[in-house]
Amino acid sequence: MLEIKDLHVSYGGIQALRGVSLNVPDDKIVTLIGANGAGKSTLMRTISGLVKAQSGSILWNGQELLGKPIDQIVASGIAMSPEGRRVFADLTVVENLKIGAYLRKDKAETEKDLEWVYSLFPRLKERSWQSAGTLSGGEQQMLAVGRALMSKPKLLMLDEPSLGLAPIVVREIFDIIRTVNQQGITVLLNEQNANMALKVADYAYVLETGTLTLSGTGAELLADENVKAAYLGKKRADRA
């Protein structure tokens, strides 16, 4: 269980988060939707330790994460697939996956997880000896997700996994998100593709200029008039 309380973060001279409080319960898919620059990425980057918070608290199974070094946060079971995929282009696919397990010492288990990731993304297995830079955008996104899974996380954070991908690939990625979640991995998802994200989400939050403005189950937000107007590209009923 991840509990964020009154989180304030200033990033690049901007007050990116102003008192955000939210919970990510175990075994659920929680999604954050919001426009570009609303603070979604900053929130994830603060959880993973890349960005320092000004105040507030992030409790992970009761432990304070703020102030911890990144590698300890990863070791505690939180993995992130960053926005823009950021695969290591010069490394091969299999090396990218192995580097995801960088902190793990259990070799036999790591090998098993490699096979598990390959079973989720058979295309990565076919291309395991290719350098990651030669993969298509969709394959790179699969690799970025697979790489994050290789650390054997309890919480998987995905920052804009559908960005710039063809709809069919987006659907594939979302299928995988559901699959890994059913296998007991909690998922925190940042998405601009609100429609897809809300359909898979157990719970969802709307972030606007650094504050949470709305929350509810995925289905509730899908039905919400304001969300429809702002994020789902549908006109408000009263104006239609």
């Binding site: 330790g49 070094p69 990144i70 590698d71 993995a79 950021r86 290591f88 580097i99």
Partner: protein
């Protein structure tokens, strides 16, 4: 004709190998920090002085490993003091810090040595004279290229096959994502400086076995030439640095053999200008994707 140039060719291969060992240090640090570590040539010189002082009171079997270890620690310390605090600073600031570090080391050496040239100890066996194809030379001349090849092969294996090598390759392209994998970036950087300084220490032992006077500024010239070698080979590329080192060493030496000693240094720097003008990315340009 061939007999006349053979000694120069041998000397060139040897000094080229020494440049190569120093050049690897430049290129590896550049690969990971995008920084020209101007203090690297001075670390090479410090290693020379350390050897002079160590052998004054210790046997070689102790002083050689001791000097290597101390040089490695110096390289790591330079990074921690001069570059680590500037991790998020603009590149220009780090470069100025590197130049400052270079002068600091040079002046410390003046202070400690009093500016007098010190005689580098003769290392048994490798300083012995041998005859190769009819020309007399020190054994170090013959050994250097082989030693360089062995060290480079070991280094390439380290980078391609080991976990820390994989971390170095990842970090050299994307610090942030490497950190998200749990890689401790500062450890990887320290390790890179350690490897570079280790090779500089070995290079210094080879170099000063040939040119036996150690002064505080004696490392500046081989340091600069190794830097040119790294740029020529394509900075960031290890094979490039090695080939650049050998090529510059051999050309320089042959120019001396042709009787134009005065121009041998000029050649190296003219080469730098030509490379920067014609192909600034060098022979083996890595596809430089700018770091975000």
């Amino acid at each position: 004709m061939a007999a006349k140039f053979l000694p120069y060719l041998l000397a060139g291969i040897s000094v080229g190998g020494q440049y190569a060992l120093i050049a690897i240090g430049y290129t590896m640090v550049y690969g990971i920090l995008r920084l020209i570590n101007f203090a690297h040539g001075d670390i090479f010189t410090v290693a020379g002085f350390l050897m002079v002082y160590a052998t004054a009171s210790l046997p070689l079997t102790v002083s050689i490993p001791l000097v290597i270890a101390a040089t490695v620690l110096l390289g790591i310390a330079v990074e921690k003091v001069a570059y680590k605090p500037l991790r998020t600073a603009p590149r220009m600031s780090v470069m100025i810090s590197a130049i400052g570090m270079s002068y600091l080391l040079q002046n410390l050496m003046w202070y400690v040595t009093g500016g007098l040239a010190k005689q580098y100890p003769a290392l048994p066996w490798i300083s012995d004279t041998v005859t190769v194809l009819g020309c007399q030379t020190k054994r170090v001349t013959v050994i250097t290229p082989f030693l360089v090849i062995v060290l480079v092969a070991a280094l390439v294996t380290l980078i391609q096959k080991t976990k820390i090598g994989m971390a170095m390759r990842a970090a050299s392209r994307d610090f942030e994502t490497a950190q998200l994998m749990g890689i401790k970036i500062n450890n990887v950087i320290s390790f890179t400086f350690a490897v570079g300084s280790f090779l500089a220490a070995i290079g210094s032992m080879m170099y000063f076995s040939n040119y036996t006077a150690v002064t505080p500024t004696v490392g500046a010239m081989p340091g600069l030439k190794a830097f040119v070698a790294a740029v020529f080979g394509g900075i960031g590329s290890i094979p490039g640095a090695v080939i650049g080192g050998f090529l510059i060493g051999i050309c320089e030496s042959l120019i001396k053999g042709a009787g134009a000693t005065t121009f041998s240094d000029a050649f190296t720097f003219a080469l730098l200008i030509v490379v920067l003008a014609v192909k600034p990315t060098g022979l083996f340009s890595e596809n430089l994707t700018e770091k975000v």
